[in-house]
Each structure stands twice: as C-alpha cells, then as structure tokens.
Symmetry: C2
Subunit: 256 residues, 2 copies
C-alpha cells in the first residue's frame, strides 16, 4: 500500500470509509508544552495531523504509520482516548473536490467519502519536541509546533480534540509514570517538578511533590550532583527502570 | 428514522458505514458489579449491547438512543472511552447474510457493509442494575446481567472491550465522584466503602478510605443513625450536591 493522497483518490475502496485517525502530537521541552499542527494549502486553516485507515491495517497501526510519517519517530506511545462524531464533521464537498483536483491534477469527484461526514478516532502522544524532525505533509503549506495556550484558528472541532487530549494526558499521568523520554537520563528534582507543573498547567507544592514522587519508588537518588551556580549543586536522580515499567503495566497512583 | 434492523437492511445509505457504537452497560447493586449482555439468535454468542449510527445523529446521540432502547433509562451518563479497530473485526458475511434473510424474511445481500469489517466506538456507563427493566433486542435470544468476573463466551473482542471499560471506570472514579445513583439518598460509610471496593476490585483500608472521602467534602454527616443490629446504629451520610456537581465538572482527586 502506498497510503498517499493519490492512492486514496484513485483507490478509495482500499480504505475504511467515513473514518479518520487524528493524532494529537504533544511535545514537552524545558517547561513548554506544544502541539504539532499542519496547515492545509487549500483552506489556510490549521489542523491536527491525521489520515485514513487502510483495510489491511488496524486503526492503531494506521495511527502509528501516520505519526511516523509526520515525525520520523518509530516508537511513539500513542494512546487512543476518544472519538469525535458530531453531525457537522464534513467539509464543503464541492469546494474541496475542486481544490483536490487542482492540487493533484486528477479529477476528484465530490461524492468521494473523504468529503463526506466522518468520525475521527483521536490519539495523543507526548514526546520531546526538541528531538523531532518535522516531515512536511504533502498537501500542507506548513507544519510546526504551537504552544498549547496560543493556538491558531483550527479546522472543525480540532480545538476541542486538543483540549480533550490534554485532559486525558492529565488524568493518565496520575496513574502512569512519565518523563523517561522527556528528561535527561539524570535529572534534578526541580526539573521533574517543572515537567509535572507544565503538563498539569498549575503550580505544585514542591515539598509535597517531592515527598510523593520519592515514596512512589520510581526515581532513585544518585551520589552525583550537578553544579548550577556558585553555591548550588542539587543532587541528580534517575528513573528506576524496573519500578517505572511496572508502573506502566500496573499503574501507580501519583496524584499531586 | 425508525432505527430498526429492517430499516438498516433496506436503507443502509442512511447510516455511517463500517462504524458501530457499543455500550458497556455496567450495573452495581449491593456489592455486585455486573454487565448487561445480549445473546444473538443466530450465533448463540453473547455480546455487548450496540447498534449503528444514523447520518442524522451524532455518535453520542446514537449511543444514548441505543442505551435507552435496551434499558428504558433516559439519563444514563455514557462515557466514550476508546475505539476498537483491529483488522479481524468482521463477521462471516455469507453465513450472516443468510441468517439475517431467514430472520427478517427479506433477501439480505452479503456485501452489505454491516457484514464487513467495522470499527467499534465503545462507551461505558454505570447504573444500579436493580432499577433497570431490560428491553429485549429484536434479534436476540436473551438479554441479562452477568457478573463481570463470570462472563460467557463473547463475540469478537468484546471481552477486551468490557475489561477496558472497567479499567477506564477505575481511572475515572479517582477523578470524578460516583455513587449518587448507586446508593440510597442516605447511606452509611460501610455502604459507600463497599461500593468503591467492588468497583476497584480490591480491598481498601477502611480508616484511610473514610479519611480521604470526608476530607474531599463530597459527603456530609447527618444527625441520624440507622439501626442495623441490637448494638449497631452507624451514622448516615448524604452527598453534598454542590460539591458533588463541582467534582463532576472540575474533577477531584480521590485516589484510594
């Protein structure tokens, strides 16, 4: 399967109709939470990165394939958190078919299901945005990271989808450990504290946070320190991989 | 719209193709957690209660309509928690079309999309099973409540869907209050303790549970007691509706 725009126009029967996968790719780095968005050439509006589901692949496989095609990252942990299926989720078929014909040089009919109402299966993932090499979407004018609090005008209900993804993420991090791909292998307590504060979008009492984190057993204090100023050299910590993986499997309650 | 089996066979174009809504209807009563299942006449296998999405309704509206048709309950709080889209999710089209033709007396073609691979949008809800009057599904041999730990052989991946619904429920009750429809208006602390233990599927230290529950502010101690034995008359409690509703809106952390 080619899974290209041309392929879906020419062989729509190879895809599940009226269904789209939408990946909310969230990125954290140094106290900033961002989301990867793409801008269509035709409408100028921004949207979550998404695509269609081939008949030969599961919906989860489609989400992974599409995320890889936009970020180059093989091992993103994509979490399917909700679907969106309001009646108004369809594009202007006539205008869009005309745009698509112009862009591809192939005559695209307006009754093709990609212009019809469709249900979006929404996934989210969280990665370190400084490590991602964005790959441009063939039909997109631009692709870039946007701070989650300063979003541009978005397609359909994509603003709601992003907001629901962040809500799901905030719920999940009270049950599952995070940080392994988002912090250096050795980190200070203020660094992991900032990570949780940024994702939760609120301040967390530092002493209380540290007490709960340490009692969870997922981090281990090292004998090393890191010099960050003439009189400041906080201790370094690392994740206990066994406890961390156990937490991913069985869940831990880490409600701050 | 009639939304009957006959309607979908005769007017498949009025529905979103290759999509199904599946409602995991969970029921609690007196320390028991059950799930409502239906048995098909054709296969004898049991399944979650589900149905198709009309083009004139949103997926959420479809879920509510279908849940109402099975339980008679108008105000079920349905939570869409995941979709299921593996490649193997399709029935034997030839056999099923023949069965459907026999049951309805109408010739049903095997290339109708209801026999094709479809994606399931899964919802769950939690209600008091003692208050539900089960409505039989027209194509079903039987419909009844099954204890979640003693399930019969199930269709497709429905066992996994039920297990994921319970996992989602367990995560949600650490963030959102429950109990308003599941306990009497006035209840004892042992009763709400049993509710949480049953849903979480594990024992909870009673003193710790009570301390966290009371400090959350969602329950209020009344001046009344209830006599439950010659020397036992525990105090009664009720939900603080304002705090409870605020918890539903903004979330509370109630991790036991």
């Amino acid at each position: 399967m080619a899974y290209t725009v041309l392929d879906i126009i020419q062989h729509p029967e190879n895809y599940l109709p009226n269904i789209q996968v939408d990946n909310v790719i969230l990125g954290y780095h140094d106290k900033e939470l961002k989301v990867l968005l793409q801008q269509t050439i035709a409408t100028n509006k921004w949207s979550i990165t998404g695509g269609y589901v081939g008949r030969a692949e599961s919906t989860d496989e489609a989400a992974n394939r599409i995320a890889l095609s936009r970020t180059g990252l093989e091992k993103l942990f994509l979490q399917q958190f909700r679907s969106f299926g309001s009646v108004s989720r369809s594009e202007d078929p006539e205008k869009n078919a005309a745009n698509m014909s112009k862009l591809t040089g192939i005559e695209v009919k307006e009754d093709l299901w990609i212009f019809d109402r469709f249900v979006s299966l929404a996934y989210y993932t969280l990665t370190d945005f400084s490590t991602v090499k964005i790959k441009k979407w063939p039909l997109g004018a631009d692709s870039k990271w946007w701070p989650v609090n300063e979003l541009p005008p978005l397609l359909f209900d994509h603003k709601e989808i992003i907001s629901e993804a962040i809500k799901a993420l905030r719920m999940h991090i009270a049950f599952y450990p995070i940080g392994y791909n988002l912090l250096s292998a050795k980190f200070t307590l203020p660094e992991i504290h900032a990570l949780y504060e940024t994702i939760l979008g609120r301040t967390l009492d530092e002493r209380n946070f540290q007490r709960k984190l340490l009692s969870s057993g997922i981090v281990t204090k090292l004998a090393e320190t890191r010099r960050i100023g003439p009189h400041r050299a906080p201790f370094l910590y690392e994740f206990d991989r066994a406890k961390y993986n156990e937490g991913l499997q069985r869940g831990i309650v880490l409600a701050f």
